[in-house]
């Protein structure tokens, strides 16, 4: 086929294009994913009578704040990387700093505690549930984010996939935190942070396959 023929074809009956806003599509995807993850969580655990968790209320708020913070920063990056070109490094640096802060908080909390208490702090309530449920709750947000990103044109697929995985993992963790009774800070760093990192790695691996265009 001659390139001129192709150009003729492409420029016959050109439809006007609205100022495409990846932000809107990604926000919709995020909302759909969050609702789906929430429904799954409620279907599995039901609504919790929140009586026994009183003393852990602050740790729960902390877990929610940190995970939703990761979601916010990661989504900002996704909005930028949905368009061809360099998305800029600032959100990635911010994500790195956030992770560094989380990790060091966990280590400091562990260092301040008596070594005899470490076992109890690390293998806190339902650590295995965290490991299974956070990636499980991350599936729906990941699918919806990939669906949205496939309509855009990301040019660095592994990095975009990694951040999509991270956002989905953090959102899954936030949903799980609504159910989970909470625990010590090192517990949260390990059993919330670990699965989120895992989701991000899976996203980085799947990104080049799923987001190709």
């Amino acid at each position: 086929m001659k390139t001129d023929e192709l150009i003729d074809m492409l420029s016959t009956n050109v439809e006007p294009v609205k100022g495409g806003e990846p932000r809107n599509l990604l926000m919709i995807a995020l909302a759909v994913g969050a609702v789906a993850a929430l429904c799954l969580m409620l279907a599995m655990f039901g609504v919790r009578a929140n009586a026994p968790g009183e003393q852990n209320f602050s740790i729960k708020v902390l877990a929610l704040a940190v995970t939703l913070g990761l979601v916010a920063v990661g989504t900002r990056f996704l909005i930028k990387s949905a368009r061809p070109g360099e998305p800029g490094r600032r959100p990635l640096v911010l994500l790195g700093l956030l992770f560094f802060a989380i990790l060091s908080t966990g280590i400091v909390a562990l260092a301040l505690a008596h070594p005899a208490a470490w076992g109890g702090m690390i293998f806190g309530p339902q650590w295995a549930a965290c490991l299974i449920c956070i990636p499980l709750f991350a599936i729906a947000p990941f699918v919806s984010l990939v669906w949205a990103l496939r309509r855009e044109a990301p040019t660095n697929l592994a990095r975009t996939g990694a951040v999509a995985g991270l956002v989905a993992g953090a959102l899954g963790a936030a949903v799980f935190a609504l159910h989970h009774p909470g625990g010590s800070i090192p517990f949260l760093v390990l059993w919330y942070g670990g699965p989120i990192v895992l989701c991000s790695i899976v996203g980085a691996i799947l990104g080049p396959r799923l987001l190709r265009w």
Partner: protein, 202 residues
């Protein structure tokens, strides 16, 4: 910044840096986004010369045959067309075009199992245009491709993109709704892009 790229010495005719065409290309792009077909055509024609020179240059530089350059040009033009909505009107056009071109090149090299490390990241200034229009034929056979499309998509592409009927005329003639004509056309162009990709080195 601001220093001439080493390539400007290499090209004796004086390179037509794509960035020096930024204002006019961007104006054409914005008009095309608003539905101006002739501006869109002028944009794609203008870009195809830059892209051809860019792909030939890149393929030659990494020691690859330049015969696939035209396939890459066509892939990129289709991508620019079908992903128009990802262009941010407030930004420069040429970095957006260059990012798509580079993405297509990296994808092509990956597909053909070559090293991708050799593709420079930040050299939009190297998207040269020269007037080398030889070999503007790709390996894609449009008739063969059309035969692979579903009847609905084929008809929509035929009416709207080849015969030049308006969407409403095509809808009346085919008995499809206007929106399904639009969807079919879009789908057909995506299939076309995929076919060009598979055609190079299947």
């Amino acid at each position: 910044m601001g220093i001439a790229s080493p390539h400007s010495k290499v090209n004796p005719r004086g390179p037509m840096d794509i960035r020096s065409h930024e204002p006019e290309l961007r104006t054409l792009m914005l008009a095309g986004l608003d539905g101006d077909a002739s501006a869109h055509k002028a944009l794609l024609t203008g870009l195809s010369a830059h892209l051809r020179a860019y792909f030939k240059g890149q393929l030659a530089r990494i020691g690859r045959a330049t015969v696939d350059a035209e396939d890459l040009v066509q892939e990129t033009l289709i991508a620019i067309h079908t992903r128009r909505h990802t262009y941010d009107r407030s930004q420069l056009l040429t970095p957006w075009v260059y990012a798509i071109a580079r993405y297509r090149l990296v994808d092509y090299l990956r597909r053909t199992k070559a090293s991708v490390r050799d593709v420079p990241i930040d050299q939009a200034s190297e998207v040269w245009a020269d007037d080398d229009a030889a070999g503007v034929d790709s390996t894609l056979d449009l008739d063969k491709l059309m035969a692979q499309l579903s009847p609905k998509t084929r008809q929509a592409i035929q009416f709207v993109k080849l015969d030049g009927l308006s969407v409403s005329e095509a809808a009346t003639r085919s008995g499809m709704s206007q929106s399904s004509i639009k969807v079919s056309v879009h789908r057909g162009l995506r299939a076309l892009s995929l076919a060009v990709r598979q055609r190079s080195h299947s």
